[in-house]
């Protein structure tokens, strides 16, 4: 399970988000993912590595090529993301309330 920061960092990059969203359409090879993106194939591979390390993507061999797909276990990442989203929001709220953050 990736940490909040890893998930956040993985999806912070717009190119990685684009790759991630493309994988929502089903498993893809690097060459398919690179098509139409303004980055090189090695760059796409590097982005996939980061997504994989964040637990958002898995890969498997399909004959001569490697297919990447979204990690169904990444549902945990969704909760992680929502947690983080509201944590940041409420922290901002507490700050606005003139509070040093008596967080529980």
């Amino acid at each position: 399970m990736a940490t909040y920061d890893e998930v956040l960092a993985a999806l912070a990059d717009p190119t990685r988000r684009a790759i991630f969203e493309r994988l929502g359409g089903g498993p893809r090879a690097v060459v398919d993912l690179a098509r139409g993106l303004p980055v090189s194939r090695p760059a796409v591979s590097q982005h996939l590595k980061v997504l994989k390390e964040a637990g958002l993507v898995t890969d498997q061999r399909d004959g001569a090529r490697r297919l990447y797909q979204l990690n169904p276990e990444g549902l945990g990442a969704l909760r992680t993301y929502l947690d983080r989203f509201w944590n940041v929001a409420l922290a901002a709220f507490a700050t606005a309330a003139g509070n040093e953050g008596d967080r529980k």
Binding site: V7, L8, L11, A12, R17, F20, E21, L23, G24, G25, G26, L56, Q69, L70, N71, P72, G74, L75, A77, L78, R79, Y81, L82, D83, R84, F85, W86, N87, V88, A89, L90, A91, A92, F93, A94, T95, A96, A97, G98, N99, G101, D102, R103, K104
Partner: protein, 155 residues
């Protein structure tokens, strides 16, 4: 895969009276809402939570564009607020769809208020439409949700 368990909770305690905590959260929404938490293409100019039953919850971009987030489902100052988060699989406002964000305010001591937030009913994404259910039944179905929040948090 089931999404029925997808709910998250956050709790924070603030050193202001309950009336003030509620007012800051709602009337003062724009004053504390993180600028990074938005869905529109433009930078966030103002985040608005209209303080009434059925009130709109939306953002205004610096280009004047407006993006709906949802609406107020329960307006019970100063103790409880329920707002609908209504964005479909393509991250457009969909009045047919809602997930709930409930915010409860409790006075824990004079001048001190606990704020509990729960974002729940994400499984309703799977009930909203057949195509939505189909999308969610695939392994990649939740991807857009994360992408949405990624955009919201990082755009």
């Amino acid at each position: 895969m089931s999404m029925t368990d997808v709910a998250v909770q956050q709790v924070v305690t603030v050193n202001v009276p309950i009336d003030r905590a509620f007012a800051l959260f709602t009337d003062g929404f724009d004053s504390w809402w993180p600028r990074t938490h938005k869905i529109g293409a433009a930078d966030l100019k103002q985040a608005v939570l209209e303080g009434r039953q059925g009130g709109r919850w939306y953002e205004i971009g610096t280009d004047g564009s407006e993006c709906e987030w949802g609406r107020v489902l329960a307006w019970e100052p100063p103790k409880r607020l329920v707002i609908a988060w209504q964005l479909d699989a393509s991250w457009q406002y969909d009045p047919e769809l809602l997930t709930e964000v409930e915010v409860r305010f409790t006075e824990v001591a004079p001048g001190q208020t606990r704020v509990e937030l729960e974002h729940r009913d994400l499984d309703r994404y799977g009930e909203a439409k057949d195509e939505m259910r189909a999308a969610l039944d695939t392994e990649g179905g939740w991807a857009g949700l994360i992408a949405l929040y990624a955009q919201a948090a990082n755009a």
